[in-house]
Structure formats: structure tokens, C-alpha cells
């Protein structure tokens, strides 16, 4: 009988993840045993403390580079940067989840999401003034899954992290207080397609195990290096793993869920998932490709080339025809996935740090944009149709200016973070000889600039009419998020060098 040796676990290195995990479990206990009236403040404080605490521990841990947990967890430069990004973005979106003064009915979430829309039960829950507090528990579990996703160094842990991240998101998407049917439809679509893509991921993991005899990413790389022929199995396995990950980032041809989910989900959740899921999934994708599959780089480069060009062109072109701001942002997210893939294909240290910079800046802009959208309202809730934004910039200059900064950043105009990240990703692509890919990306960003600038034109160059929405007065929560994201967008655009230096030092995956 084999003797069992317990795996070494470096508890200090994984402390940020443990903090969020313990907070998530305490959050379940809060829901279980505390009376309804105190749940919301307790949950908010718990979330706030755990996210900030994890962030502080992460900063203290910044020099740790180790593989621990029996090879399942890799704490390295990219892992630390991406964990920090996820925590900051989650914190900013948590403020949006906590916001309660924008909507006359309360927060953005259905008091009882299981009640049939329009039923007696639902009206009763609303009338009693019940509020949804499980959203915080789900939120913490989703953050936990994302943190685990970017450090996962073997396929099984990666799959578990993927599911821990995804399952709470499916639920949160279906919890909008208004437009319940749209929200539930989005949740169902996201769940069915997400479960389908998870099946691809786990099937791919099985095929790769069949080839390499190991689920550990470095050992897969060793198996690739030592085996000459028989590569079909691993190529198919790798492609199926990529299907699972590309689904999560919403790249063409796995993008069909994106518009419906972005539009149907409660806006704070759209902000949360739009920003953080991309960070987590691209982090895991880079680790998977660079650590495990660098031996068959030629094969995945071809796949990602095609996916990248398709995402950029299709995302940008369909976004042109959208008249709903949230749907337009969803197609823009598809296009942005394509731009990020340009950096992933580059597969160099400068490419890695460019992708990480892209994820940070893009995540901040996404959270900020959706925070602004959540403030623009009429009598039926959020006014997301573009016609209702006519003259909004004249009616409310501050909000208009903030939105304009975000749109210019998404379009990649200089002096905003959007220019710096697009430039560094394209530069990394050209340095690795992907000139045609970069040319396609530049063409796509010119197309994309049109619909971003159109929002600004609608806001500032058309007169307000009776349909124009009004801007709700936010509480301190949304104000913090908007102020932080717009400041970061401008600062990263004007003085990007400190961030570039930080990321250049962090751009190496350990094996």
C-alpha cells in the first residue's frame, strides 16, 4: 500500500482566499440564524471587511512566489495582480449592490426572487418591505470562486473554482426587482449555456488527463515536451478547455448569452460580472495556455487568432445597431474580449502585463459605466433606451461628463486609460509578429469608436425632450464607485508609467 504524505499548505500565501471563504461561510450563518432586520447591515459589514482584509493581506504577501497545496495552487506575480484586481472591482461593485436610494422601491433586487412575477406572493413580499440579503452570500461565493480561478494550477481545482464562480452568478442574474421576466430569462439562458460550456471544460480536462496522465499544469507541459507524436488527443482536449473559458469571457462564437444577460441582470450584478469574470477567466486562460500548453503554442494561436478577429469585428458591427445602452455595452464587451485576446496571442512577458493592464482598466471602466447607467431613470426604473438619453448631458452636466470619459476610454482616446491599454496590447502583438491581427484590431476599434462617440453625441448635441430620463440622486455608495472609477480612468490614462512598471515586474507565471 502506498504511504500517504499530507500536502504542504502555505496558509499565509493563500490567506486572501481563505479570508473570503470564511466570510462566505459566516455569511451563510448570518442568513441562517440572525433575524431579518439585522441581516443586511451584518452582511454589508462582513463583505466590506473581508474584501478589504483580503486586499491588505494581499499587499503584505506581495513578494510571495510559491506553489502550494500539493501543486494545486500557484501564487505568482500574475496571480497576485489579478487577485488584487478582482478584489478591488468586487469592492466597487459591492457598493453598487448596497445602493438603496436610487429606486423608490428600495435596492435593485427582488425581495423574493422565487415568487412568480406579478403574483400575490410577490406583492406581499414587497408590501412587507422585505429585502433580499442572500445576494451578499452569493456575491462572496462568486468572489471566492474567482480568486481560486486565477491561482488554480491543476485542471480539477480550476474546474471547481469555475463552478464556484459561475453558480452564484447564474442566481444573481435572475434577481432583478424590475423587469423580472427579462431577468429570469437571462438567468435561465446563462445557466443552461454555462452548464453546457462547463461540460466542455471537464470533458477537455479528461482528454488532457488521458494524454498526460496528470491534471497538474506543469506536468502536462512536461508530458508534451517528452512525447513526440499522438498530439491529436491533447489538441482536442486543449480546444475543449478553451471552449469553456472563451464562453466565460463571451468571445465569438460563444457570445450568444452576453447581450441577454447584460440586459436582464440587475445593473449592479452586470457591473460585477462584466468586470470580474473577464479578469478571472482571462487569468485562468493565460495560466492554462502558458504553463500547460506552451508546447503546442502553434495550435492554440491559430484558434485564438480566429476567435479574436471574429470577436472584434462581430462585436463592433452588431454594437453599431443597438439602441439599448446595456445591450450596446454587452456587444462592446464581446469586442473588448477580442482586443484582450490580441495580447493573449502575443504570449510574451510584455503581452502578459499588457493583458493584465487591459483587464484592470477595462474592469474599472465597466463598473463605472454601469454605475452611471443605474442612475439614469424614469418612472419604470432604469431608462436604458438610447432615445431617453437625449440631452442628458445638458440636463445633468456632471453625469454627462463622467459618462463621456468612460465612453472615450472604451473607444481608446488618448488621455484616458483606454488608449494606454489598447496601445500596449497592440504593441505586444506587433512585437510578436502578429501584424495582421493588430491591423484587424485597429480597424475594429475605429468601427467601435463610432458607437461609443454616438452616446456622447446623443447626450450633448441633442436637445432634452419630454422623453429624456432624469438622474436619480445616489447615496454615498454609488458616489464612491463613480468617483473612484472615473479618477482611476483618468489617472491611468495620464500617468500610466507606475502601473506599467508594477505589471512588468509581475508578468511571469511560475511553473
Amino acid at each position: 500500500m502506498n504511504t500517504f504524505t499530507a500536502p504542504e499548505i502555505d496558509y499565509v500565501a493563500i490567506a486572501p482566499i481563505l479570508i473570503v471563504a470564511i466570510a462566505a461561510l459566516l455569511s451563510v450563518l448570518t442568513e441562517t440564524f440572525l433575524p431579518r432586520s439585522v441581516r443586511r447591515p451584518v452582511q454589508m459589514i462582513l463583505t466590506l471587511i473581508s474584501l478589504i482584509g483580503a486586499l491588505i493581506v494581499l499587499v503584505i504577501n506581495r513578494d510571495i512566489r510559491t506553489i502550494t497545496g500539493g501543486g494545486a495552487v500557484a501564487i505568482d506575480g500574475p496571480a497576485l495582480v489579478l487577485m488584487g484586481t478582482i478584489l478591488i472591482l468586487a469592492l466597487l461593485s459591492a457598493f453598487l449592490v448596497a445602493e438603496r436610494s436610487l429606486d423608490s422601491l428600495g435596492d435593485s433586487f427582488a425581495p423574493s426572487a422565487a415568487a412568480l412575477p406579478g403574483s400575490v406572493d410577490e406583492r406581499e413580499f414587497s408590501a412587507r418591505g422585505y429585502f433580499q440579503t442572500e445576494i451578499w452570500t452569493l456575491f462572496l461565493f462568486a468572489v471566492l470562486g474567482m480568486l481560486a480561478f486565477v491561482v488554480a494550477n491543476d485542471l480539477l481545482f480550476m474546474f471547481v473554482a469555475l463552478e464556484v464562480m459561475s453558480l452564484p452568478l447564474y442566481l444573481m442574474v435572475g434577481m432583478a426587482r424590475r423587469r423580472r421576466l427579462l431577468s429570469q430569462e437571462a438567468a435561465l439562458k446563462y445557466f443552461v449555456l454555462g452548464a453546457f460550456s462547463s461540460a466542455f471544460f471537464i470533458f477537455g480536462a479528461g482528454l488532457v488527463y488521458g494524454f498526460a496522465g496528470s491534471i497538474s499544469l506543469p506536468e502536462i507541459n512536461d508530458a508534451l515536451a517528452s512525447t513526440a507524436g499522438e498530439t491529436l488527443l491533447i489538441v482536442i482536449g486543449m480546444a475543449m478547455l478553451l471552449v469553456g473559458l472563451l464562453f466565460k469571457v463571451g468571445a465569438v462564437p460563444f457570445h450568444q448569452w452576453t447581450p441577454d444577460v447584460y440586459q436582464g441582470a440587475p445593473t449592479p450584478i452586470t457591473a460585477f460580472m462584466g468586470a470580474t469574470v473577464k479578469v478571472a477567466a482571462f487569468g485562468a486562460m493565460m495560466r492554462l495556455l502558458y504553463v500547460a500548453f506552451s508546447g503546442i503554442q502553434w495550435d492554440w494561436e491559430i484558434i485564438l487568432w480566429a476567435v479574436s478577429i471574429l470577436s472584434m469585428i462581430i462585436g463592433s458591427l452588431i454594437a453599431l445597431t443597438q439602441s439599448d445602452v446595456k445591450r450596446m455595452l454587452a456587444y462592446s464587451a464581446i469586442a473588448q474580449s477580442g482586443f484582450i485576446l490580441v495580447g493573449v496571442v502575443a504570449a510574451s512577458p510584455s503581452g502578459i502585463s499588457a493583458v493584465m493592464f487591459y483587464l484592470i482598466a477595462y474592469g474599472l471602466v465597466t463598473v463605472g459605466t454601469l454605475a452611471v447607467i443605474s442612475m439614469v431613470r424614469d418612472s419604470t426604473g432604469e431608462a436604458t433606451h438610447l432615445s431617453k438619453w437625449a440631452g442628458l448631458g445638458k440636463k445633468s452636466p456632471v453625469l454627462g461628463a463622467v459618462m463621456a470619459v468612460f465612453m472615450l476610454s472604451l473607444a481608446g482616446i488618448p488621455l484616458t486609460s483606454g488608449f494606454v491599454i489598447k496601445f500596449s496590447v497592440f504593441a505586444a502583438g506587433i512585437a510578436e509578429g502578429d501584424t495582421w491581427l493588430v491591423i484587424a484590431a485597429v480597424v475594429a476599434s475605429i468601427i467601435a469608436a463610432f458607437f461609443y462617440v454616438r452616446v456622447i453625441v446623443v447626450m450633448f448635441f441633442s436637445a432634452p425632450n419630454e422623453n429624456t430620463a432624469s438622474v436619480a440622486v445616489p447615496s454615498i455608495f454609488t458616489t464612491i464607485t463613480v468617483a473612484a472609477t472615473v479618477t482611476a480612468t483618468l489617472v491611468l490614462g495620464i500617468i500610466p508609467q507606475p502601473m506599467i512598471d508594477l505589471l512588468t515586474n509581475a508578468g511571469i507565471f511560475i511553473r
Partner: protein, 119 residues
């Protein structure tokens, strides 16, 4: 010969049989169409009782099923641990207890939220 060849041959045979069956049926089978043949296929009689107003089923069955899954997963991991508890030592003991605590949380949640009350 490659070890996967028999599987491939079996797959080809199965595919071939399916194609053959469809083709031969289209040549030899009688074609008498009526309304029932165009309807979506459902076997058996209409399920009774039908859910009241709006096609929803009571959630109780799902809650019971979820409870089953909690204990089912618990056992799936407890058995292998019990078989090799000696070899796994203190590390295994602590790990399995952490796992049990984590499983107790959803159980407590379901209990407190009334998931165990049938009426």
C-alpha cells in the same frame, strides 16, 4: 493495431446501422399522416394532477432532492475516507471534519428557512 481501433469500428457500425434503418424505413414503411403524427412526441397519458394555474409545481420536492444531495455527497466522500482513515492520519481527519462542517451549513440554512416543513 491501435487499441482504439475496435471502438472506432463499433462506432462506424452503430452509425451505419442508424443510417441504414432510416433509409430502409423511408423506402418500405407505410406513410399515413394524421394530426397526431405531426404533434410533438410525448409518451404515456397526460400527467395528473396538473399544476394549478400557471404550470408550477410545489417546490417541496426539489427541497427534498437538495437535502438528498447534501447527504449523498457527504457519504460519497466519507466512505473512501473511512476505508483509508489510518493511512490518512490526522490530516485526513481534520480535512473530513472541515468538510462535514461545510456540509452542516446548508443543512442548517434549509432547516431554519423552513425547507423541512412539508405543509
Amino acid at each position: 493495431m491501435n487499441v482504439y481501433t475496435p471502438i472506432l469500428v463499433l462506432g462506424i457500425l452503430a452509425f451505419g446501422f442508424a443510417v441504414f434503418s432510416i433509409v430502409i424505413a423511408s423506402f418500405t414503411g407505410p406513410k399515413r399522416y394524421n394530426r397526431a403524427k405531426y404533434a410533438a412526441y410525448e409518451c404515456g397519458i397526460e400527467p395528473t394532477p396538473q399544476p394549478m394555474g400557471g404550470g408550477r409545481f410545489p417546490v417541496k420536492f426539489y427541497l427534498t432532492a437538495m437535502m438528498f444531495i447534501i447527504f449523498d455527497i457527504e457519504l460519497v466522500f466519507l466512505y473512501p475516507w473511512a476505508v483509508s482513515a489510518d493511512a490518512l492520519g490526522a490530516f485526513g481527519l481534520i480535512a473530513i471534519f472541515l468538510f462535514l462542517i461545510n456540509l452542516c451549513l446548508p443543512y442548517a440554512f434549509e432547516w431554519r428557512r423552513g425547507g423541512l416543513e412539508w405543509d
